[in-house]
C-alpha cells in the first residue's frame, strides 16, 4: 500500500508519508491501524508510532465551550463592535465639523484681509491725489 521496504528500516520520507496518511485516514473515520500493524510487524519502530498516533486520536478530542459562554461572548462582541462603530462615526462627524469650522475661520480671515487691503489702497490713492494737488498749487504759486 505504501512505498516502504518491509525488509529494511524504512527511510524517513516514506515513513513521514505513511504517518501522515495514517492520521488523515483516522480523521476521515477510517482506522487502518490493524492492517498496517500486520503489514509492518517487522518494524517495531513503525508499529509503535502507528499505535501512538491512534492513541492521540482517541485522547485528543475537540473540547467545546458551553453554549451559554458562546452566546454571552457573542453578545458582548456585538455590543463592543457597535460601540466602536458608533464612536468611529462620532469621531468622523467631529472631524468633519472641525474641518468646516476651520475653513469658515480661514475664509473670514481672508475676506477681512482683502477688505483691509482695499481700504488701504483707496486711502493711499486719496493721499497721493491730495499730495499731487498740493504740489501743483505750490508750483503755480511759485510761477506767479
Amino acid at each position: 500500500m505504501f512505498d516502504l521496504n518491509h525488509h529494511h528500516e524504512p527511510d524517513m520520507d516514506a515513513l513521514s508519508d505513511l504517518l501522515a496518511r495514517h492520521v488523515d485516514s483516522l480523521n476521515a473515520g477510517v482506522d487502518m491501524t490493524p492492517d498496517l500493524m500486520r503489514e509492518y510487524d517487522e518494524h517495531p519502530s513503525v508499529t509503535g508510532l502507528l499505535q501512538l498516533s491512534r492513541e492521540l486520536h482517541t485522547t485528543m478530542t475537540p473540547a467545546r465551550p458551553s453554549l451559554d459562554f458562546v452566546e454571552k461572548l457573542g453578545y458582548e462582541l456585538e455590543q463592543a463592535h457597535m460601540r466602536r462603530t458608533r464612536s468611529m462615526r462620532r469621531w468622523s462627524r467631529r472631524q468633519r465639523s472641525w474641518t468646516v469650522r476651520l475653513s469658515r475661520v480661514v475664509g473670514a480671515a481672508v475676506s477681512l484681509l482683502a477688505v483691509l487691503g482695499l481700504v488701504i489702497r483707496v486711502l493711499v490713492s486719496f493721499a497721493m491725489l491730495i499730495m499731487l494737488i498740493a504740489r501743483q498749487k505750490q508750483r503755480s504759486a511759485a510761477a506767479a
Binding site: 501522515a20 485522547t59 485528543m60 478530542t61 475537540p62 473540547a63 467545546r64 457573542g74 458582548e76
Partner: protein
C-alpha cells in the same frame, strides 16, 4: 440556520472585509472559529475557566485590531491562532501555572464506552500523554492540536504555521518520535519505581 446566520455562505476574505465595519460579519467569523480557538486554548491550559477567559480575550483583541488586518492570502484562523498563542504564552509566563490541572472532564468524555475498570487505567495513560505533550515545544503542541483536535489537513496546517506541507509532514514525524521516546522513558521510570 441560514436565517439566523445570513452571512454563513460568504467566503472568508469577503467576510473579513465586511467585519471591519459590520458587527454581523464579525459575529459570523466568531461563530466559525470560537470552538477551534477554545479547543486550542483548552489543550494549552487544561483549565475550562482559563480557556473561556483567554478565548474571550482573543476575540476582543481581534475585534480591536481587525481594522488594521491585512489579507495576505493566509487563512483568517492563522491570525486568530497567533493571537491565542501570544495570550497563552503570556498566561504561562505571567502566572507560572504550568502545573498539571485535572483533565478528567475531557478524557472521560472519550472513555464513556469503556467499563469502569478500564476507565481508570486509560485515564491515567491519557493524562500522562497530555502532560508529555504540554512539555513539548510550542510549535509541536500547536501541530498536534491542529492535527488531532481540529483535524486539519497538512496543507492548511502549513498555512497557519507558515511552513510548507512537506515541512509539516516531517515535523509531525519528528514530533511523534519525540513523544514516543518520552513516553517510553516515563513508562520505564514508572516500572523502575514499581520494582523499588
Amino acid at each position: 440556520v441560514s436565517d439566523k446566520r445570513p452571512l454563513a455562505g460568504l467566503d472568508e476574505s469577503e467576510l473579513v472585509r465586511l467585519a471591519k465595519s459590520d458587527a454581523l460579519a464579525f459575529g459570523e467569523l466568531y461563530l466559525r472559529y470560537v470552538d477551534k480557538i477554545y479547543s486550542y486554548i483548552y489543550y494549552r491550559t487544561s483549565n475550562h475557566h482559563e480557556a473561556e477567559d483567554l478565548t474571550a480575550r482573543v476575540f476582543h483583541r481581534a475585534l480591536k485590531h481587525i481594522p488594521d488586518y491585512e489579507d495576505r492570502g493566509l487563512p483568517f484562523s492563522a491570525w486568530l491562532y497567533r493571537i491565542a498563542h501570544n495570550l497563552v504564552v503570556n498566561w504561562h509566563r505571567d502566572r507560572n501555572r504550568r502545573q498539571i490541572i485535572p483533565l478528567e472532564g475531557l478524557v472521560l468524555r472519550t472513555l464513556r464506552r469503556d467499563g469502569p475498570d478500564r476507565v481508570a487505567e486509560r485515564l491515567d495513560s491519557a493524562e500522562r500523554l497530555l502532560s508529555v505533550i504540554r512539555g513539548m515545544p510550542e510549535d509541536r503542541q500547536l501541530l498536534l492540536i491542529l492535527k488531532y483536535v481540529d483535524r486539519l489537513p497538512n496543507a492548511e496546517i502549513g498555512e497557519i504555521m507558515g511552513r510548507s506541507e512537506g515541512a509539516i509532514k516531517s515535523l509531525y514525524h519528528r514530533t511523534l518520535v519525540a513523544l514516543r521516546d518520552e513516553m517510553s522513558r516515563l513508562y520505564d521510570q514508572h516500572d523502575r519505581d514499581g520494582d523499588d
